[in-house]
């Protein structure tokens, strides 16, 4: 076993930590308060190379391994969840499907611009009536005169509406496959494909979703497709592979959501530790009261366990081994650890923790997305229980 990070991973962690502390920390609270997505800061993140971290240099990426990407997300979320979301969704959901399933032509067309941060890509899966049960989606595309005609709508789509939003990978029903019914819906009856739809295509409109509780400076949108036509060649990979592509994209994406939980937990823990050592009550720093010391000890322990689980899952992926079960476990565990850590970290701040002036309340809110997005905690438990064989009875 070797637990040491590579030199480049150490350098990346240090650099991104510096960047997050110098560039993101001073504005995070204000952007959250105003519910504002910052193109300026997103471009700065792009300049640092935060989009396309695992994409090879020939397409404009950094050519690093997946663990490096995960460390980058962790370090940004140590300071701010919203900006971590922009990066995580940009890489896992935006760039990922195009890089993994795109044709040479599609990759050459989109990846350099995405890696340079000229534009952002989004991944349109969730619909108003199809969340956990993604197979129940209704958005469809029919082929007509060499063009896909897309109709339907999507909801909660990250990086889809800002000035920087450039393209969306849309999951759509492109036909029927048969009548088999799966355990959680009628997923296998439909032929599902992914189609690339550039923002600005006639018939494709977006609407920014506001009044979010968390990730307030991340861009979330509703998408509407009304006889939206794109060339037939905008199909991603093969027709009918959309469901499979989506499952794999989510496996990858779970690692990044886990990294958000880990980084957020680390940030909240550090805030709590600093506060507990500085705050005096009954004549002593509150960190020296055993109940608080033990809370901090539990946080440090859970964070260490979460980091080891997540890094192991990344290691498996980087070695080309199956990692789906470990990714689901890491997503479930890291996000729930962040929940426990932010709860106690806020508690340690007492009344001040409830005030916006102390960053901890933002961590407390931002955590909540992590047990819901990219597969709820319940769905992770379904995935894990399937993989460990709970349903294989005779």
């Amino acid at each position: 076993m070797d637990f040491w990070l590579k030199d480049e991973q150490k350098m990346l962690r240090y650099n991104i930590r510096e960047f997050a502390e110098q560039e993101i920390a001073p504005v995070a609270m204000e952007l959250d308060e105003k519910e504002e997505f910052s193109c300026d800061l997103t471009r700065k993140m792009a300049k640092l190379g935060l989009f396309g971290i695992y994409v090879p240099a020939e397409f404009g990426g950094a050519g690093m391994d997946y663990l490096s990407y995960i460390i980058a997300v962790e370090e940004i979320c140590r300071i701010d969840g919203s900006h971590g979301a922009t990066v995580a969704a940009g890489n896992s959901l935006g760039i990922g499907p195009i890089y993994y399933y795109g044709s040479k032509k599609q990759k050459n067309e989109w990846l350099p611009r995405l890696c340079a941060g000229e534009i952002l890509a989004s991944f349109g899966l969730t619909e108003p009536n199809a969340g956990s049960d993604a197979g129940a989606s209704k958005t469809n595309a029919r082929l007509e005169n060499g063009q896909w005609v897309v109709n339907g709508s999507k909801i909660f789509i990250t990086n889809s509406t800002s000035k920087m939003a450039g393209i969306c990978t849309v999951q759509a029903i492109t036909g029927t496959k048969g009548q088999k019914v799966g355990p959680y819906g009628s997923i296998e009856t439909k032929e599902v494909s992914c189609i690339l739809v550039p923002n600005g295509t006639p018939g494709f409109t977006t609407k920014k979703m506001t009044k979010k509780m968390m990730w307030r400076s991340s861009d979330t949108g509703e998408l509407y497709f009304d006889d939206c036509r794109v060339p037939e060649e905008n199909l991603l990979g093969k027709r009918g592979e959309g469901f499979h592509q989506m499952l794999q994209t989510l496996d990858n994406g779970r690692l990044a959501i886990a990294a958000m939980g880990l980084g957020g937990a680390q940030g909240a823990y550090e805030l709590a530790m600093k506060y507990a050592k500085a705050r005096k009550q009954f004549g002593k720093p509150i960190s020296t009261f055993q109940i608080n010391a033990f809370k901090l000890a539990d946080m440090a322990t859970e964070i260490e366990a979460a980091r080891n689980l997540l890094y192991k899952a990344c290691y498996l992926k980087d070695q080309g081994k199956p990692f789906g079960k470990e990714a689901a476990m890491a997503k479930l565990y890291c996000s729930e650890v962040m929940g426990r850590v932010t709860n106690e970290a806020l508690q340690i701040h007492g009344g001040y923790g409830l005030m916006k002036e102390y960053n901890i309340e933002r961590f407390y809110r931002d955590y909540k997305l992590l047990t819901i997005g990219e597969g709820t905690s319940e769905v992770q438990r379904i995935v894990i229980s399937r993989r460990i064989g709970c349903f294989e009875t005779d």
Partner: protein
């Protein structure tokens, strides 16, 4: 254009410095090491010159094995190659030894302009840049906050009390960088990957042919004395409090 930037690895500004029990130096175990912030200005200015006028940037560093990390950081920012002068004989080097080692390494390289930080934030001696210029017999432009390149010469601004000097000199020259010169860039992720493949020449004292005997010897390192507690002057009358303050400043603190 052949540009040289000298870098030193120093403890992070936020590091908690602990002096060794025997006073022979500082405890290095827990320290995070970084590039001297003033050297970052030098690397940035070197990269800007290269981007505008072409050429290449060589990083030269005297330091122990761990200093390689700092050289790689400069390469990740965009420098082209490095020279690492690494020898246990330099462990107790003073500014004189370091300046001579840098000079010996730089003499072997083509050089039009050489950047140093105006001082290093660890020992704060501020001598290496000036000594390096002397050792190379080159003009020195110190504490520079603005630099304009004009073919075979440079024009710089150096702030002095209440005014600023504008100085021009023919190249080659040594420039020491002061805060305000530029905003050093972050090493980008693709830059970090490219840096892995850039060449760094590691040389010991014998290879560059310099003496390692220091002129100055650190006799003992001691932590700064604990600060005595402050004094609060109580009372309701401002005039009375001011008088008391004046008296204390004169008689007790002997400041006026």
């Amino acid at each position: 254009m052949n540009i040289i930037a000298c870098v030193k690895q120093v403890p992070d500004t936020e590091a908690q410095i602990k002096v060794k029990a025997d006073g022979s130096g500082i405890e290095e175990g827990q320290i995070k090491w970084v590039m001297n912030p003033y050297d970052e200005f030098g690397v940035e200015e070197a990269l800007k010159l290269k981007e505008k006028n072409g050429g290449d940037v060589t990083i030269v560093c005297v330091g122990p094995a761990r200093a390689m990390e700092t050289i790689r950081t400069a390469l990740a920012m965009g420098a082209d190659k490095g020279v690492h002068i690494c020898d246990p004989a330099f462990d107790n080097a003073d500014a004189f030894v370091v300046a001579n080692a840098l000079a010996a390494a730089i003499k072997a390289l083509p050089h039009d302009i050489i950047f140093c930080g105006q001082r290093a934030i660890d020992d704060d001696s501020g001598q290496v840049g000036a000594m390096l210029a002397e050792a190379l017999n080159l003009p020195q432009l110190t504490l520079v906050t603005k630099l304009e390149f004009a073919g075979s010469s440079v024009k710089v601004i150096r702030p002095i009390e209440g005014a600023q000097l504008s100085i021009e000199t023919a190249l080659p020259a040594v420039v020491t960088c002061q805060k305000g010169l530029n905003e050093p860039r972050y090493a980008s992720l693709p830059g970090i990957m490219k840096a892995k493949k850039k060449p760094v020449d590691v040389k010991n004292a014998a290879a560059i042919g310099v003496a390692t005997d220091a002129k100055a010897r650190v006799a003992k390192t001691v932590p700064p004395p604990a600060r005595p507690p402050g004094k609060i002057i109580c009372g309701d009358e401002p005039a009375q409090k001011a008088a008391e303050l004046g008296k204390l400043l004169r008689e007790e603190a002997k400041a006026i």
